[in-house]
Amino acid sequence: MSNVLNLTSVDKSFGGLKVIDDVSFNVEEGSRTALIGPNGAGKTTIFNLLSGIYEADNGSISLDGNDITNIAARKRINMGMSRSFQNIRLMPHLSTIENVMLGQNHLANSTKENFFPLGLVKRNKWAILAEKALIDCGLESYPGQVVSELPYGVQKRIEVVRALVSNPKLLLLDEPAAGLNSNETKELQTLLEKVSNSGTTLLVVEHDMNFVRNLCQHVVVLNFGRKIFEGTPNAVAKDPQVLEAYLGGEEKNAP
């Protein structure tokens, strides 16, 4: 199987602090890969490097065979990558459907589309597409509501829908299950499985190991900016380096 994403020896420093140190890994097309690690391991930094918020100091990132290391953040969504955020970053003053329509932005990039009165002609094709995406994800009850009033779990799922309507090949999800109760986590998992079965590759940062075990076939573990393990979810729990990263080294710390 071919890879959707390749990271090759990526480095990133902030001042003198090396937060990403020579990280390489691949994400297979159609796979569900998890990126885990203790707090401060550099998971979100990797996401910010992928989406172009930060520039890598060294190394290269390629998406679907194209080198995107030096592509502007704004243009990366055109190449088939979109993301959700660790803290919800929906537009609080926009309605659910408007937030989802923002996700369609790069598909509607002509002057004609930009000046079509979406809000006045209610049954336009973009609104219909956005409503359909919401219905597919079980969110049909809230199209016109301003998102800041909606429950946290619903907002989390709207973020996923917003990223999805841009038709990405690779969907980056930064702690999608954080703060969700067990019901909401289950709903999210069902949604992500559906997304994955339709052919979208998932790369997920997550702390909830149950969620990771249930969803992902492949796990990459980071600690202090270095990759310390790559393999199946079951093998992760047995790896001595991973155990040391999470629980502390037994022998070294022993008196």
């Binding site: 989406s51 172009g52 918020i53 953040a73 704004r74 243009k75 990366r76 969504i77 055109n78 979109s82 993301r83 955020f85 970053r89 537009m91 609080p92 003053h93 926009l94 309605s95 408007e98 329509m101 923002l102 996700g103 932005n105 790069h106 509607a108 990039n109 589309e113 930009n114 000046f115 079509f116 009165p117 979406l118 809000g119 006045l120 973009w126 219909i128 409503e131 359909k132 219905i135 049909e140 009850s141 199209p143 016109g144 509501q145 301003v146 009033e149 917003r162 841009s166």
Partner: protein, 296 residues
């Protein structure tokens, strides 16, 4: 009554000129500057005595477009600033414009400039209605959606492919265009323009129309301009009718209290999304199944 309608129309146009950038997250305290440019440009082109004597059907659009061009050029330095610094930058811009015009002998300097072509409400009113419709239209487009997205979160808008710089420059330029339009129309109503009309207080008032009205929906500047135009007049007529002189004389103090009260009670403006939903929302029992039926 006609007098107050004229002031209301001009206030509405200038309110939209500040609202459109504000909807994209830009706080603009330069309304006076754009109004001065539009007013003087139009007066010079149209005045029969001291100007070029061109027809107003030509001079008003030209003055507005010229102000838009100035706005476009100014947007590059001004949009490098944010928040309170943008307020200062736009304020400085307005002061510079006032300073330059005050020292331009060709348009009369400090003594003002006469406008020879008088206009009644028959031009101003339709133009005002067009501006309101334009505001509603622009906010409803994807360009408007991009503006509002930038207002909420510029970085995320960028990641979703919004050309944030272009949209911000666009919003600022359109605002400048409308400001110039308001200035050009002003001259033909009052037949005389002078820079002293448009000081810092004017710019503050216009920004208040927009912030008190609300920046989330295109209803905001309309309601804000009406609020600011009518409340002082209403206070005065109540004062006159009841004989409470305090209300007549101190109506601006009373007005100030009302403004502070609005800021406490409705910090996001009078017309918020949630308030409009309350006004116009259909019953949930009706809208729920209707939505699903249409898509099954």
């Amino acid at each position: 009554m006609t007098g107050i309608i004229i002031i209301l129309c001009l206030n509405i146009i200038i309110a939209y000129s500040v609202f459109l950038p504000a909807a994209a997250g830009q706080l603009n305290l330069g309304a006076a500057g754009f109004m001065i440019i539009g007013a003087y440009m139009d007066a010079y082109l149209s005045s029969a005595d001291e100007g070029l004597g061109l027809p107003i059907l030509l001079t008003i659009p030209v003055a507005a477009l010229f102000t838009g061009l100035i706005g476009f050029l100014m947007s590059f330095p001004i949009l490098r600033t944010r928040g309170v610094y943008m307020i200062l930058a736009t304020f400085a811009f307005a002061e510079i414009v006032a300073g330059i015009v005050l020292n331009m002998e060709v348009v009369g300097g400090a003594s003002g400039f006469p406008v020879t072509t008088h206009m009644e409400l028959d031009v101003l009113l339709p133009v005002t209605i067009l501006v309101i419709l334009f505001g509603f239209y622009l906010i409803s487009t994807r360009f408007g959606l991009s503006m509002r997205s930038i207002h909420d979160d510029e970085n995320v808008s960028l990641l979703f492919g919004v050309n944030t710089h272009l949209v911000k420059v666009g919003a600022f330029t359109i605002g400048a265009f409308l400001g110039g339009l308001a200035g050009a129309l002003y001259g033909h109503q009052f037949d005389y323009i002078e820079v002293q009309n448009w000081g810092i207080l004017f710019s503050i008032y216009v920004l208040l129309y927009v912030l008190i009205g609300g920046t989330q929906t295109p209803w905001g500047p309309l309601v804000g301009a009406m609020f600011f135009t009518f409340i002082p007049e209403i206070l005065r007529s109540i004062g006159d009718a009841t004989g409470i002189e305090l209300l007549t004389e101190l109506r601006f103090a009373a007005f100030g209290v009302i403004i502070v009260g609005m800021m406490v009670l409705r910090p996001e403006g009078i017309m918020t999304r949630t308030f409009l939903e309350l006004l116009f929302r259909e019953q949930p029992s009706k809208s729920g199944p209707r939505m699903v039926n249409k898509n099954v």
